[in-house]
Structures are given as structure tokens and as C-alpha cells.
């Protein structure tokens, strides 16, 4: 009886340790990407990063942008996706919907901003899980 209990205790300890270690090493969802250029700074929030259609919220945290356009490149495979124009929902907050990532893997998300300060293209790497 005590043997079974001991085994259960050991199993519990090991499972707890496993969850802790694996939890530390895995990226937390959703995807939050921040990048700063010379004219603008943005935070891109992708609630459900996955291949196919995604919704990306772009918050312009610095600079005054009139238009925001997203596109993506997977450098390892030489894939690129068409530009997706984001619409401004409220000042400084843009929402883009479209097929940005054709497959899982590391993509470079390009954020092209235009406004009175001029045009700037920012880029940030994003891991799209399978």
C-alpha cells in the first residue's frame, strides 16, 4: 500500500517538475511583438498565431501613423505574402486581417508605416507555431 502511494508521490513530483520545465521553455500565446524604428514604434498583437487567416492588432506607441500595412517573409523558404492593409479603429490602433503566414515556422513580419513624419518599414521576427 505504502509502495503504491510512494510511486504516486514520485509520479506527481516528476509531472510537476516536467510541467514547470516545459512551461518555461515554451513560448506563451498569444504573440506580442514590439519594435522601434527612428520614426515610429509599434506593438503587434496576434491573438491566435497560426498558418492561414489571422487578425493582427497594431498599436503605434510612438509617432503618428496614417497608414499601416503588414506583409511577411519566411527567409528560410523564400516565401513572401502580399501586403495586408490595416484599418485604423481608433487613433494609434490598427487592425489587419488576412493570410499573413502561409505555414508554421519563423516569419519576418514587416510593418510599413506612413504618416506626416514620413515612411518607415519596421521588421520583427515571429515564430508561428504549427
Amino acid at each position: 500500500m505504502s509502495g503504491k502511494r510512494a510511486l504516486a508521490a514520485v509520479a506527481l513530483v516528476v509531472v510537476a517538475v516536467t510541467l514547470f520545465v516545459v512551461g518555461r521553455s515554451m513560448a506563451a500565446e498569444p504573440l506580442r511583438l514590439t519594435t522601434t524604428g527612428t520614426r515610429y514604434a509599434v506593438t503587434v498583437l496576434i491573438e491566435d498565431p497560426a498558418p492561414g487567416r489571422v487578425t493582427a492588432e497594431v498599436e503605434v506607441t510612438s509617432g503618428d501613423a496614417d497608414t499601416v500595412t503588414l506583409s511577411a517573409v519566411m527567409a528560410d523558404m523564400g516565401h513572401s505574402t502580399p501586403e495586408v492593409a490595416a484599418r485604423e479603429r481608433e487613433p494609434g490602433r490598427f487592425l489587419a486581417e488576412g493570410e499573413l503566414f502561409a505555414m508554421s515556422g519563423v516569419w519576418e513580419l514587416s510593418i510599413r508605416l506612413d504618416g506626416p513624419a514620413g515612411e518607415e518599414q519596421l521588421a520583427v521576427k515571429a515564430l508561428i507555431p504549427a
Binding site: M1, S2, G3, R5, A6, L7, A9, V10, A11, V13, V14, V15, V17, T18, V21, V22, R24, S25, M26, A27, T34, T35, T36, G37, A41, S62, V73, M74, A75, D76, M77, G78, H79, S80, M103, S104, G105, V106, A123, K125, A126, L127, I128, P129, A130
Partner: protein, 450 residues
Amino acid sequence: MIRRLRAAAILVLCLVAVLVVGAAVPAAAHNVTAGADLRIAQTIAGAEVTVVIKGTPRVPGPLRIGVVAYQPVAALPVGLEVRSVEDGRTVTGTARAAARDPQYARLQVDRTGPYELRLSAGNEVAVIPFRVLVDRGSAGDFLIYGGLFVAGLLLAGGLLTGALARRGAAMLLAAGAAAGVTVAVMVIVFEPWMPPPVPDGAAPEASSSEAGVAAGGRPYAQARVATVPARPEAGEEFTLRIDLVDGSTGRPVDDLAVHHEALAHVVVTSEDGRYFRHLHPLRTAPGRLEVRMRADRPGRYLAHTELERENSGGQLTSATVTVGGEAPAPETQSSDPATSDPAGAGAGGVGAVPRVRPGTPVAGRPATIELDTPAGVRSWLGMAGHLLIRSQDGAFSGHVHEMGTPGSRLRFTFSFPQAGRYLAWAQYATGEGVVTVPFAVDVTASEATR
């Protein structure tokens, strides 16, 4: 007891398997960690220098940046600006380039992740992207120390409860202690096979569960080479501009790996081989490399550029550049590179004449080229010596490395691909600068193809 141990062992093995699948190994390109410096050669303000960025063991912490000169410079000031690409915070400093023991500037960084280093010297500016990484404690260490800690705790508890004659509880604690020791020992045994932990600030990497990994290298880069001004005159300084474009996406190629301590190696030679420069262009914009240079005579010049994209193999691109203007007086000209003036940047002088063995190398078979050097040769571009080879017509270009020959000599082994005349330049660095030894090699056809 044995059954319990076996169960614990199986669980630990599952844990190891999960770790192997779940964790990814970061790419080494442009990463700065404590103990792993980033070294990038740059030809800036007419000087051949190597920028060294030393990492920090924790953030906030200092990055130390120094500039090592490979030619005599009078404490050339190099402006440094380190900008976090994530939050835009910028710190500035100045480094003074020196041949020996350069002074390192300390620039405080607050976070890990992507950064840009803006270098300015003379009126030239380079922007080098890099990432600051800080090692995280490894999961293996955590399990080893955690397991031993639990074992120690439970053993003490077991002894106490045993003393109090509570047999069941004592057994339970002893079993727990055994499990703790088992976990620690198993991890010690299996740690060499476990992937290293991903450092803080590392670029996202696809694991085997995602697509787009191990694609066998990135698409080819195409180079559009131009000069600014478009038609430089002999003796006039001009900019050689290389725009790199990805062959699959049409986008600028901005993922160059640091390859032999440089983003790219540009070798510019005149058609006759009397002019030779081995330069390290500056990244001035995404996908754009630029280097300032001067050609002494009018004519056609060949520019070979060696580069390597992240997670890919090396590539070579070639282009020709035409320099206009008046030819200098004929008596200063010499058609044989072996007897011409020393070419290349910096100090030097023709050292000992290289020995080629066999005397007339056979195409397709290894030949050795040995060169005596003065004492005090120092590593340059990660190697003691470099040998740049060009076929006389410029269609072939090679870059051979010295493989660590003892004594004051450099030895290169190379199989010349075809019969014919090759122009070669051996390069090494001393305290005074980079020495370039030009010579020519005549290669005969092999018996089989004759």
C-alpha cells in the same frame, strides 16, 4: 523498490524526450553573449579594423565595445551608438581604434533582444544589427540540484519519522528521497544529450514540429554592384555599392551571417592583378553594403564578394567596375604581379617569396604554398593567414585559409581547378598592419586530361 526506480527512470526519460522536442537551439549569427564576443571586420575611414562586442552575463549590464586596428592609426575615434530595436533606448560612447589592447567603451543595456550598433568614423556610418543574449539557468541544472535538494530534505524527514517509529511514513519519505537522487543522477547521465537552454533575447527558432526548418539553406542572393559616382576617375575616392536581393522574394537580403569575422569579403583586383584590395564593406541600409576605395589606374576592375546568409552556405558574386581617367606614366607599370609593388591596404612589403610544391602544380591535385613570416603574426579574420587566388581571366576566385602550421610560416593547400596562370595574394597581419604578398602560379594540366 526496483520497480519504483524503473518507473522513475521511465518518467525521467519521458521528460528528456519532451525537452529534446520542445526546446530549440539558437542560431549563432550576430549574437552577443558573455564569453562569446562578436567580431566584425570593417573597412571604415580608410582603415582596416575589427569591431569587438563583448557580451554581458546579465541585464541590466554593460556591453563592452572596442575597435582593433590592423594598420597604424593615430587613435582613430569611432563613434558608437547602441539602440534597442525593441524599445528604442539608445546609449552612445566612443572607442579609439588601436592595434594592441584597444580601450573598450562600456555601454549599459537594459534588456536582451535585438539591437543596432551604429558606427561612425570619418564621415562614414555603418549599422550592424545584433542580439544581446543572456544565458538562462539550464533545466538540467535545475533538475540535478532540485533532485538532490528534495532527496536531502526527505532523507532527513525519513530519519526523523523513522526515529519516531512511524514505519509507513518513513518508507514513503525514503522512497521520495530515492526518487530525488534518481532524477538527479539520470539528468547528470543524460545531460550531454539534452539541448542547451535557449538564452534570453534569442531570435525565435523553428523547432522540428514546425515547417520551414532545415530547408537546406536560404535562397540565393543576387548582387547589384554599382559605383558612386557611376564612372569614377583614377585616383579619386569612390563608393563601391553592393545591393543584395533575395532571388525568391525580391526583398533586400538583410540576414548576412558573420562569416570569417565579416558580413562580406570584397576582393577588388585590376585585370592585370597589380591592384589588389581585400575589403570589408559597411552595412549602410538593409541589404546594402558599401565600401570606399580608390583605384590608381584607369581600366576594368573585378570585384568578387564572398558572403553567407544565415543558416545557409557561402556564396560568391562577381562584378566588374570601370575606372576612367588618365593612365599614369608607363615606367611605373609592370605586367608581372610577382614583381610588382606590394598591393593591398596597410603596411607591408613583399615578404619572403612563397614556395609552391610541386613547383608547377597539376590541375585537380593538391598543391602546397608555404610562406615564411616574421615573428608576431596575429590572427586576422579568425585565421593566421589568408590566400586569395584568381585565375588570370578573373573567372575563378578562391579564398584559402591557413590551417595552423607551427613556427613562423604559413601553409596553404589548394587544388587549382584548371591548367593556366593564377594570380595569388597571401595575407597575414602583424603588429604594423596587414601584409600582402602577391605572386603568380602556373598550373599544368593533369596527365589524364592532357
